[in-house]
Amino acid sequence: MMTMNEFRSLFHNGLVKQNTGLVQLLGLCPLLAISNNVINALSLGLATMLVMAASSGAVSGVRHFVPHEIRIPVFVLIIAALVTVVDLLMNAYIHPLYLVLGIFIPLITTNCIVLARVDAFAAKNRPLHSVVDAIAMGLGLTLVLIVLGGMRELAGQGTLLSGIDLVFGADAKQFVLHVLPNYQGFLLAILPPGAFIALGLLIAANNWNKARAEQRARTAIPVPA
């Protein structure tokens, strides 16, 4: 079992301290490619989280049977099999969402966050801890994706939640927020450079925040001379 403290520290680790998008800077390919609006970002984030949780649980469960020297091929095999299963299930049961995410679902296999977490954490920890760690990491990634998607969608199209009808059916179209009416659009934000710029701003904000917190901690506790 796991204590509340362990649980909290795993989440703190995934969301803040080692956030994959802002601190570890892992798995940036899908992060940059699909974060052009909130719905895409959210959908891919959740799919990645699902795959991370499933593969971390599976790897942790078999970790005693896998010799060290072939662990990477075995982990990749497990991840690839699980991604393909998710891909098939999504194709069969949530087809519209599958159509939106398209190529990026199979590409989760190549996402290095998944393999990194599996190798660095799940291969050394118990299944429950590994799954929680994967969910925390996935959640951290999803949050960054949503903020990034929101920034780019707002700057690029002046809307939020556009494309929600592709996920929840045509009726959901009314939930699209036209934040800036008659907005001309700003192509740069939608294009890949926009992703780099927005991510750079996010990382800068995160670092600034961290530096400020450290500064405060230093001034609060006087260092003995």
């Binding site: 490619a33 699909i34 052009n36 609006n37 895409n40 078999v62 049977f65 896998v66 010799p67 020297e69 072939i70 091929p73 075995v74 095999l77 497990i78 690839a80 099999a81 393909t84 299963v85 098939l88 299930l89 194709n91 069969a92 049961y93 087809h95 159509l99 398209g102 190529i103 690029g156 592709l166 192509l187 939608i190 294009l191």
Partner: protein, 218 residues
């Protein structure tokens, strides 16, 4: 064999067997999921195809079962196909009234763009839909009807409207507009629709022949 060599061999065999077992489990898992989801996926694709055919060819144009009137076309340069493709012959009151062609634009920004093109008996485009593409999300993917209405501008066009030399995107001096930042994608689509019209013009007589059955020969 030295003891070291025997140990190394044993070790290699052991890891090999373990890897094999994992591959076996993975394959079994995939086979099972594939087996379970395949009927649903096929059904979904068929329903989607029917709905798509309805989008490129207005229902009032025909009274036959379009899916049943499917014919196979050998690979054709004008259609951009490298494998046999399908076409659906529409009839109203037994009379030829239109056709839906499968065409491929091979020169998209990233690979093939598969399309369905509806053409009425007079050679006017009734509708075009992109069925599969790998164009850049948020950039070239506006050719997808789900993303924008761009593709609707083909409706009503024919080989004489606009003239063949204006079957280009506006940037190249043609009659079809395209968004800044992504001209390769619409350029490919415009060319493919034009070629499909050429294909139609070439085979119209075969389509309109009263006897059903044979696919048009090249």
């Amino acid at each position: 064999m030295t003891p070291q060599a025997r140990l190394a061999l044993k070790n290699a065999l052991r890891t090999g067997v373990i890897l094999f077992v994992f591959a076996l489990i993975g394959t079994a898992m995939l086979a099972f999921t594939h087996d379970r989801t395949e009927p649903t996926i096929t059904r979904g694709q068929l329903a989607e195809k029917r709905a798509l055919l309805g989008q490129v060819l207005p229902a009032k144009l025909y009274d036959n079962d379009l899916l049943a009137a499917q014919q196979s076309v050998p690979p054709d340069d004008l259609l951009g196909t490298r494998q046999a493709s399908a076409l659906w012959l529409a009839r109203r009151g037994g009379e030829f009234s239109g056709v839906v062609l499968e065409a491929i634009a091979p020169d998209g920004y990233s690979g093939d763009i598969a399309m369905l093109i509806g053409i009425d008996a007079d050679g006017n485009v009734t509708g075009v839909r992109v069925t599969a593409h790998r164009e850049t999300p948020g950039l070239g993917d506006y050719i997808d009807r789900a993303k924008s209405a761009w593709i609707d501008q083909f409706a009503g066009k024919s080989l004489t409207n606009p003239e063949p030399k204006h079957w280009k995107v506006a940037k190249d001096g043609g009659a079809f507009d395209a968004r800044a930042g992504a001209t390769i994608t619409p350029r490919a689509v415009v060319k493919a629709v034009k070629r499909a019209l050429d294909f139609f013009a070439l085979h119209r007589a075969t389509f309109a022949a009263p006897i059903r059955g044979q696919a048009p020969e090249k």
